[in-house]
C-alpha cells in the first residue's frame, strides 16, 4: 500500500499563446482530503485543472493517479478513469434536459432509458434539494440551479477524485452548506477533492490542505490548520493585504437632500418583477439584498431596460424620461455590469481592447470610431488601473481567466464615466485582493459623486459598501434597511421573512 496519495502532478507546465499559465507546478492530492487550490485571478488554477482532466495538453510534466502515470487526451478519458469535474464556467448543454445533463457522457449503454434516467435524476435532485424538474430544459434553469446540477452530476459519478472549480460562486449560503455536507461525506468515503474558491471562510470550513499558486507558479502546499488566513492572503498576493476593516469607516453617508439621480416608481418588467419603487442619490451606494432568485437581478435589469419594461415611470435628475432600451439608459449616464458574464457580458471572440471600449464607443456613435491609438490608450489605462492580466490588448477576451474577464467588463463601464453605475455581482469569481480593490473603487467612485447600486451574494460585502439595502423576496421588494448599525443578522432576519411590509400583488 503506497501511501494515501491518489493524484500526483509533478513539474506541470502549460503555455498559451502569449502567456505562461503554468510553470513547473507540483500538486498532490491524498485520499479522503479536501484540498483547496488557491490563487489570484489568472494564477492558473483552472488551467491546472484542465490540464489534469485532459481539456488541455500539457507542455511538460507528469501526472500519476494511484501510482500509475496517466495521460488523458480528453475529459472523457478522465471521467472514465474516475475523475469527476465541475468546471468554473458551467459546462452543461443548454438544449438538453436537466436529467440528460446529469447523465450524458456517462456509462457505456447504447440506448437511453428515459424513465430510469428521469427517476434517477429526480432522486438525485431531491437528495440535494435542487429546485428543478428532470424533464426541464436546462436553459430554463437559473445559473445557480445549473451550478447545482453540474455539482450533482459530478458527485453522482462515484469518482475517486472530485474537482470543483469555484462551485460556490453563484450559490447561496444554504446551498453552500449543503454542498459542504456532501463534500464531507464523500471525503469520509475516501474521495480526494480539489476545491477552488475565492471565499476564504469556505476554504477554512472544509479544507484540510491548501496549495497556493501565484502567476502560474507553485508557492507552496500547507496544512489548513497551520496557515492563518492573513498569511494565506499574503501568499496568494505575494504581499500583505490592505486593511479591510478600514473600508467601513469611509462608508459614504446618504445624501438625503436634493433630487435623486435616479428615481423610479412602479417599475416592472417583462421578466416578471413586481412593480417597485426605487431611488438613488448622488454619491450614494445602495444595494439589493435577498436570497438567490429573489429578483434582485431582474430589478436592476428593469432599471437599465435590459428586459422589456412593462410599466412605471422613471426620473433622472428630476426630469421625467423614458428608458426603453439599454442605449437610452447609457445616454442618461447609467452603466450596467450584468450578472451573467459569459452570456451577457463578454463578446468572447473580440479582443480585450474592443471589449473595453465597446460601451463608450457605442455612446460615441456609429460614425465616430476611435482611432486605434486612442483605443489602445483607453485599454492600456484600464488594464493598468484594474491590474488586468492579459498578454496584450489584442488577445481575445475568451482567453483570459474568469476573474480577469470580469475586470474587463468593469473597465468597460468605468470608461464611460457613468453617473449611475449598476453592478450586479461584480465580485463573483474575483480574488480576495481584487475584491477589496473593487470595494474600494466603488467607494472612491461614490466620493467622486457617482451613484452605485451594488449587488452581491455576500451580505457582508454589501454591508461594507452600501449605505442602504433594499430587501427582496419572491420578486418583490419587502423592505429597506438603512444606517450603519446593521449587522449581517439584521439583514438575514428581514430576508428570511420578518417582513416589514407584505408583498402586495
Amino acid at each position: 500500500m503506497h501511501t494515501q496519495i491518489v493524484l500526483e502532478m509533478r513539474g506541470i507546465s502549460k503555455a498559451f499563446p502569449g502567456v505562461r499559465a503554468l510553470h513547473n507546478v507540483d500538486f498532490t492530492l491524498r485520499r479522503g482530503e479536501v484540498h483547496a487550490l488557491m490563487g489570484e485571478n489568472g494564477a492558473g488554477k483552472s488551467t491546472l485543472i484542465k490540464v489534469m482532466t485532459g481539456v488541455y495538453a500539457k507542455d511538460a510534466g507528469r501526472i500519476t493517479i494511484d501510482g500509475a502515470t496517466i495521460h488523458f487526451r480528453s475529459p472523457q478519458e478522465a471521467q472514465n478513469f474516475g475523475v469527476g469535474t465541475v468546471y468554473q464556467e458551467i459546462s452543461l448543454c443548454p438544449n438538453l434536459t436537466v436529467a440528460e445533463n446529469m447523465f450524458i457522457g456517462r456509462g457505456r449503454r447504447g440506448f437511453v432509458n428515459w424513465n430510469r434516467m428521469n427517476g434517477d435524476a429526480t432522486r438525485l435532485l431531491e437528495s440535494l434539494c435542487i429546485p428543478a424538474r428532470p424533464t426541464q430544459e436546462l436553459s430554463n434553469c437559473s445559473l445557480a440551479v445549473q451550478q447545482m446540477i453540474a455539482i450533482a452530476r459530478a458527485v453522482d459519478m462515484e469518482c475517486k477524485i472530485l474537482i470543483l472549480d469555484e462551485p460556490t460562486s453563484s450559490l447561496d449560503e444554504d446551498e453552500v452548506r449543503r454542498l459542504f455536507a456532501l463534500m464531507r461525506e464523500l471525503k469520509s468515503r475516501g474521495v480526494g477533492i480539489v476545491f477552488v474558491t475565492h471565499f476564504l471562510d469556505q476554504v477554512y470550513e472544509v479544507s484540510d490542505r491548501i496549495t497556493v499558486l501565484r502567476d502560474g507558479e507553485l508557492v507552496g502546499e500547507y496544512a489548513a490548520s497551520s496557515l492563518p488566513q492573513i498569511e494565506l492572503v499574503a501568499k496568494m498576493l505575494g504581499k500583505e493585504l490592505g486593511d479591510v476593516a478600514g473600508i467601513r469607516n469611509r462608508r459614504p453617508r446618504t445624501a438625503e437632500s436634493g433630487i435623486p439621480v435616479f428615481e423610479a416608481t412602479g417599475l416592472s418588467s417583462a421578466a416578471g418583477v413586481r412593480p417597485f419603487d426605487f431611488s438613488i442619490h448622488k454619491g450614494e451606494v445602495n444595494g439589493f439584498a435577498g436570497l438567490l432568485g429573489s429578483g434582485r437581478s431582474e430589478s436592476v435589469r428593469a432599471i437599465y431596460a435590459a428586459d422589456k419594461v412593462t410599466g412605471g415611470s422613471v426620473r433622472v435628475n428630476g426630469k421625467s424620461v423614458r428608458i426603453g432600451k439599454p442605449i437610452q439608459a447609457m445616454k442618461l449616464g447609467i452603466g450596467y455590469l450584468p450578472e451573467d458574464r459569459k452570456g451577457d457580458g463578454i463578446i468572447a471572440e473580440l479582443s480585450v481592447r474592443e471589449n473595453i471600449i465597446l460601451a463608450l464607443q457605442v455612446m460615441e456613435g456609429f460614425f465616430k470610431p476611435f482611432s486605434r491609438k486612442q483605443a489602445e490608450a483607453f485599454a492600456d489605462e484600464y488594464i493598468r488601473l484594474l491590474n488586468i492580466k492579459t498578454p496584450s490588448t489584442g488577445t481575445p477576451i475568451k482567453a483570459l481567466s474568469g476573474g480577469n474577464q470580469q475586470k474587463v467588463i468593469l473597465a468597460r463601464w468605468l470608461l464611460t464615466h457613468p453617473e449611475y453605475l449598476i453592478l450586479d455581482e461584480p465580485t463573483r469569481g474575483i480574488d480576495v485582493g481584487t475584491k477589496v480593490e473593487i470595494q474600494k473603487l466603488v467607494l472612491k467612485l461614490a466620493e467622486e459623486g457617482v451613484s452605485v447600486t451594488f449587488i452581491s451574494s455576500e451580505i457582508e460585502e454589501m454591508l461594507r459598501t452600501c449605505s442602504r439595502l433594499i430587501v427582496m423576496r419572491d420578486r418583490c421588494v419587502v423592505g429597506e434597511l438603512e444606517d450603519s448599525g446593521l449587522t449581517q443578522n439584521d439583514v438575514m432576519h428581514v430576508i428570511a421573512g420578518g417582513a416589514e411590509k407584505p408583498c402586495d400583488e
Binding site: 502569449g18 507542455d59 435590459a306 432600451k325 463578446i347 471572440e349 455612446m363 470610431p369 496584450s392 488577445t395
Partner: protein
C-alpha cells in the same frame, strides 16, 4: 505589454492557397504573368482574372458582413443581382437616350432596389428570427421570375457604347472598367469600415447578441444594415455583370454565384457561424476561386472531370490549411523556441486566425 506590429496573420490561409495556385500556374508555363496591350488595354492572365472575378469580389464583401452579423448566409445574392440589374436595364431602355446620366440614374435605382431586397431579407432575419438561408430561400425561389417580369420582354439588349465601355474598356484608360469599378468599390468599403463602427457592431452582434444589446447596440438595426449593404453589393455586381454581358438574361445572369461567394468567405478564413471577419480575406478568397477556375482551364483538365478535379483541389488546399494540420506544423516550428517568442502568436489570436475556422462549433469562452 509589447505591441506587435505583425498584422494580417489571419490572411495566411487565403494567401497560401492563392500562392499555391499561382505556383501551379507558373510551373505549367512561365508566360503566366506576361502582359500585352491590346485595343488600348492591358491583356494577359492577371487582367483576365481581375476582370472575371469582379462580381464575385463585390458579392463576397457583402456576404462577409452578413455572415458576421447574422451567422448565416444569403443564398439569394445572384438572384438579387439579376433583379437589380433588370431595373437598371429597364430604366436605361425606358429613357429616350442613353447618357452617362441615365446610366447613373439606373444604377442608383438598382441600388435602391438592392436596399429594398436587403431590407426584406434582413427584416425576416432580424425581426422574425428566420435563419438567413431560409429567409433568402424565398427570393432564391421567386427572384428570377421577378426579374423576368421586370424585363417585360425576353432578354432585353443593351446595345450601346456607354454600357459596353463600362463592361469593357474606356477609351484612353489602360485597364478594363470592371477592374477599376471593383477597385473603387473596395476602396469605398475600406472607407466605410474605417470611418464607422460597422465592424465592431457587426462582430459584437455576431458573437454575442445579448451582450451587444446590453451595450447599446441594436442587433436588429445592425443585421438590417448588413443585409442592406449586401443589397447594394448585389446592385453593384448586377450592374457590372449586365454591362459585361450587354444583355439582360434574367435566367443566367450571376447564376450559381451564391455558392462561390460563400466559398470565398470561407476560404478567406472567416467563420461561417458569424462573429469575427476579415473583408480582405474574403476578397482574396474570391480571387482565389477565380484563379482556381482558370487554373483548371489552363491545365486543360478534361471537361467531364473538371468539377471532380476542382473538388480535389479544394479538399487538398483545405486539408493543408486545416487547424489541425497547421497545429502540427506550428508545433514543429515552435517547439525549439517555446517560452520566448510570445508576441506573434498572441496576435494570431487577435486576428481571429485561431478561432476563425471553428465555424460550426459552439462558440463560447473557455
Amino acid at each position: 505589454m509589447r505591441r506587435v506590429k505583425a498584422t494580417g496573420f489571419h490572411l495566411l490561409l487565403p494567401l497560401s492557397v492563392l500562392a499555391f495556385l499561382v505556383v501551379v500556374n507558373v510551373i505549367k508555363g512561365v508566360d503566366y504573368f506576361s502582359l500585352s496591350v491590346i485595343n488600348g488595354a492591358l491583356y494577359g492572365n492577371i487582367p483576365n482574372i481581375l476582370f472575371g472575378a469582379s462580381e464575385l469580389v463585390v458579392l463576397a464583401v457583402g456576404m462577409t458582413l452578413v455572415t458576421s452579423s447574422s451567422g448565416g448566409q444569403d443564398i439569394s445574392v445572384g438572384v438579387a443581382g439579376a433583379i437589380t440589374s433588370s431595373v437598371f436595364v429597364a430604366i436605361l431602355l425606358g429613357a429616350d437616350k442613353i447618357t452617362w446620366w441615365t446610366i447613373f440614374a439606373g444604377f442608383l435605382a438598382g441600388c435602391a432596389v438592392g436596399v429594398l431586397i436587403g431590407a426584406f431579407n434582413g427584416s425576416l432575419v432580424a425581426v422574425f428570427k428566420v435563419q438567413p438561408m431560409v429567409a433568402t430561400l424565398i427570393l432564391f425561389t421567386a427572384g428570377r421570375s421577378v426579374a423576368f417580369l421586370i424585363d417585360g420582354k425576353l432578354s432585353p439588349i443593351l446595345a450601346n457604347d456607354l454600357t459596353s465601355r463600362i463592361g469593357g474598356v474606356m477609351p484612353g484608360v489602360f485597364i478594363q472598367t470592371p477592374i477599376l469599378l471593383t477597385a473603387v468599390f473596395i476602396a469605398l468599403i475600406a472607407l466605410l469600415l474605417k470611418t464607422t463602427n460597422l465592424k465592431l457592431y457587426a462582430q459584437s452582434v455576431g458573437v454575442n447578441e445579448k451582450a451587444a444589446r446590453l451595450n447599446g447596440i441594436d442587433p436588429v438595426a445592425v443585421k438590417l444594415l448588413t443585409f442592406m449593404l449586401l443589397g447594394v453589393c448585389t446592385a453593384v455586381a448586377g450592374f457590372i455583370a449586365v454591362c459585361k454581358a450587354g444583355r439582360h438574361d434574367s435566367v443566367n445572369l450571376l447564376k450559381y454565384i451564391e455558392m462561390d461567394a460563400i466559398l470565398a468567405v470561407a476560404i478567406g478564413g472567416n467563420a461561417l457561424g458569424g462573429g469575427k471577419f476579415s473583408v480582405t480575406g474574403s476578397i482574396i478568397g474570391a480571387y482565389t476561386i477565380e484563379v482556381l477556375n482558370r487554373t483548371l482551364l489552363r491545365l486543360e483538365v478534361d471537361t467531364e472531370a473538371i468539377k471532380a478535379v476542382k473538388a480535389v483541389f479544394i479538399i487538398v488546399l483545405m486539408v493543408l490549411a486545416s487547424p489541425v494540420v497547421r497545429g502540427y506544423l506550428a508545433n514543429a516550428v515552435r517547439r525549439p523556441r517555446s517560452g520566448t517568442q510570445t508576441g506573434t502568436v498572441a496576435e494570431e489570436a487577435e486576428d481571429g486566425w485561431v478561432s476563425a475556422p471553428d465555424a460550426f462549433r459552439g462558440r463560447e469562452a473557455p
